[in-house]
Symmetry: C2
Subunit: 284 residues, 2 copies
């Protein structure tokens, strides 16, 4: 099962609807509610996949919230609330489950999107616990979409990239504030959070006629990271965006530029010409 392709297939059949401003395929959807707009998205976290069975439960809860809020940040949104579900085997330790939710609750409230509801279900025995987080948000200024890089844009990234698995993926803060500061200071054409890997996530910013060129030597590396790991590992939860003007230096590092693309060209290449469009989490 290729998750990404399946998701694409499924959502291609979704009809247009007057209340849908941004539909499936972006970090989150944007729908109209009377006078307002609502940003919404959902993410799953599976123990044994996104965290290990040894991960402290409070950090599992925090990561479940943080991943979903990171998508919200990448749309230019502010969280206002969240929902959380758990599907767990009947033999699960209740205090472990309580700690997961407590970690999630504290994180959700700290970042402005308190948990307002949820659902708990029992799976069969020996199934790894699974959690989902739905996040809701508002757009204070402008919703920033994918697939909208413009020729001549510079590519930027917040923070540092690579070797997230050592520690960062359990402790990161979603870049909600940074996204707002960036949107207030420059006109961002397109943005995503790096969850699957810099190469693959960058490919979602390219359009039919734009190609992203990454100067790998400019990637700000996290401690212990190598350039190949920074391109392919993912789980960085940093913002990757393109814009025509210079953002404040302390917020982001330039790592490349956007150029004209012909139909058969790869979406993302290095300055050495290597196709890195598919480097990242394989979703299989």
């Amino acid at each position: 099962m290729n998750e990404f392709l399946l998701l694409k297939k499924i959502y291609q059949t979704a009809s247009a609807h007057k209340s849908i401003i941004i539909g499936p395929g972006d970090d989150m959807a944007l729908i109209a509610i009377d006078e307002d707009e609502l940003l919404c998205g959902v993410d799953q976290l599976i123990v044994g996949k996104h965290v290990t069975t040894e991960t402290p439960p409070a950090l599992i809860g925090q990561k479940a919230i943080a991943r979903c809020f990171s998508d919200l940040a990448a749309m230019g949104g502010l969280p206002i609330g969240s929902l959380m579900t758990a599907a767990m085997p009947p033999e699960i330790d209740e205090s472990w489950a309580m700690s997961v939710f407590e970690g999630a609750r504290v994180a959700a409230e700290k970042w402005g999107g308190p948990i307002v509801g949820g659902d708990i279900a029992s799976t069969e025995k020996n199934v790894q616990p699974m959690f989902t987080v739905t996040a809701f948000g508002t757009i204070p200024t402008v919703a920033v979409k994918r697939n909208n890089a413009q020729v001549g844009d510079v590519i930027y990234v917040t923070g540092k990239i690579g070797n997230s698995i050592a520690n960062h993926h359990l402790h990161f803060t979603p870049r909600i504030k940074e996204a707002q500061l960036l949107i207030d200071s420059v006109e961002i054409n397109t943005m995503i959070d790096i969850s699957d890997g810099l190469g693959q996530d960058a490919s979602h910013l390219a359009s039919v006629n734009t190609q992203l060129v990454i100067d790998t030597a400019m990637i700000p590396l996290r401690e212990g990271a190598t350039i190949p790991s920074a391109i392919a590992d993912g789980e960085d939860y940093e913002l990757l965006f393109t814009c025509a003007t210079k953002p404040p230096k302390d917020l982001a590092t330039p790592i490349g530029f956007v150029q004209q693309r012909n139909a058969l060209d790869p979406k993302v290449i290095t300055t050495a010409g290597e196709d890195i469009s598919n480097l990242g989490w394989t979703h299989e």
Copy 2:
């Protein structure tokens, strides 16, 4: 693991927040967004639990949507959008998965809450597929809460109850329209949809000093249903509500009344005095 108690414990720790109008514990939460209000809730559907492995996939998708929209109906809401996730084992048949989503898509659009996003993840092998649906809605008139039965109210139920498992649980239409018609014609004090069982769901409508008395002979039985099954089976997805005035006859059937309750009395009894507050799905 007692799912209901665990959920209660978890949500008791949730802090109050200015944007939360109705928090955890009701059919759905209601949150404020600038000028508007958003109804939101999430529900899980596990193959082998809520449906069998033999259930046609399109009906699995439809039921996943219908269950969540039924909660929305019971709050007095109209759907505006939904999100759907799948967690499935890697060996899953893609065409089966596509059919589940297609069934969900058609149902969601028919009932006014198109799927605007989602997430797909792979579990380990041999794990039963699981789906979640998050539904969003608006409140055209008034949000109808639980725990708000008033002494002297009559208890009503829409449609027929019992023996849902034979067919109804895969084919029901969430009572969205009926809820709106009822709210427009009478002042409903409290309402829920019957998912876990009439006895147990009725107990959620009682308050500290109100007791629900059910005249079991008045319960409108579905074909093949017995009174005990109608009280305890659940999966009816009909509306159960209390009000002081008479709703239109074709919309609902009276099945009892609300009286004063002393602290140690059961929340729901039959006219014969039998405590049926706990009859229903055990959540274990």
